[in-house]
């Protein structure tokens, strides 16, 4: 993955507007968050292969970045994004990594379902 260049990501998002897509959306502080520090709540939310058709999409911020997608009945949103790539299968992968390289948030869009 590469550090996010907002213009490049915006161009990639623009290509996906109006298409029926599969969504991976995830945020986590790790299954051991509370085990490692009792004052921290272990939190994790995860959607694998939600079917969505974005009406519009924007990347905002000066880094880490935020990406919001408007859909017919609502919104999809991720904050803390630091890295991106279009992978070998043409999928848009966005992720936020902390200083130790641990993934904290991911937003991914694909025209075919993600593996399960």
């Amino acid at each position: 993955m590469q550090p996010i260049q907002a213009n490049d990501v915006q161009n990639a998002l623009d290509q996906l507007i109006g298409k029926e897509l599969y969504l991976h959306l995830e945020t986590t502080n790790g299954a051991y968050a509370n085990h490692n520090n009792e004052s921290v709540l272990t939190v994790n939310a995860y959607i694998r292969n939600g079917k969505v058709t974005p009406l519009s999409g924007k990347i905002m911020g000066i880094g880490p970045f935020r990406v919001g997608l408007k859909i017919e009945l609502g919104w999809i949103y991720a904050e803390g994004l630091t890295h991106w790539e279009i992978d070998s299968e043409g999928r848009l992968l966005l992720a936020g990594h902390d200083q130790e390289g641990r993934l904290a948030v991911a937003l991914q869009l694909s025209t075919s379902p993600f593996d399960v």
Binding site: M1, H24, E26, T28, G30, A31, Y32, H35, N44, Y46, R48, H83, E85, D87, E89, R91, L93, A95, H97, Q99, E100, G101, R102, L103, A104, A106, Q108, F114, D115, V116
Partner: protein, 214 residues
């Protein structure tokens, strides 16, 4: 005498920290080990800085790491169940127990090692341990293998007492470290801390198990 060891864990690397020394000792004396690994640890968080993996490439990396880790400690029978990381507790526990039972029927282990339900922190660990206990409890008492569990919740010793078995694995330390290092996408921190911290080195050279009361 049959001394087949069956190890059942949800994630590649679960075997490395607490059990790989025991596994290496077992395979070194020519005894068979079967390792049932339920997922590919697809939801692992360590991607590196700069990142060497993505959420989508991580499982491919971890598949290779798992194979290398098995080779490091002489595991020749690896069974992968193809489940998804962090979803084990939402699967049908009876179905999972039945799948374990069919492996148990086939390899007839003298001993099973898994996680101690209630004392293994990660929801996948807990669900795996519960399904193994369910499988073994459903067997005729005379057929039941010995069930040894790994526990590392903070209250483990307080509730369960001292481990029933503490195995010194310093004689296979190199194999164990090679197994840990094979999972390098996830274990770099541990390798570093073993190399720097004498207490950690001491901890890695002992493996601790509790017998599950069936």
């Amino acid at each position: 005498m049959n001394d087949h060891l069956l190890v059942i864990f949800p994630h590649p690397d679960d075997e490395a920290f607490g059990v790989s020394g025991t596994i290496a000792k077992h395979t070194k004396k020519g005894s068979p080990v079967t390792y049932v690994c339920l997922t590919l640890g697809q939801m692992g968080r360590n991607m590196g800085n700069p990142p060497f993996a993505t959420r989508e490439s991580l499982p491919l990396i971890r598949q290779k790491e798992l194979e290398n880790a098995c080779a490091a400690v002489g595991i020749e029978d690896l069974r992968q169940f193809g489940l998804r990381d962090k979803t084990i507790e939402f699967e049908d526990e009876q179905l999972l127990a039945d799948q374990f039972l069919s492996v148990i029927d086939e390899v007839k282990p003298a001993t099973i090692i898994t996680f101690y339900p209630g004392y293994s922190v990660h929801p996948d660990h807990e669900a795996t341990g519960r399904a193994v206990v369910r499988a073994v409890k459903s067997m005729a008492e005379s057929e039941q293998p010995e069930l040894l569990c790994v526990a590392f919740a903070r209250n483990s010793e307080e509730d369960l007492g001292a481990p029933h078995i503490v195995t010194d694995v310093s004689d296979v330390f190199e194999d164990k470290m090679n197994c840990i290092k094979a999972h390098r996408s996830q274990t770099q921190w541990l390798v570093n801390s073993v190399e720097k911290d004498p207490a950690m080195l001491e901890w890695v050279q002992k493996e601790r198990f509790w017998r599950y009361p069936l």
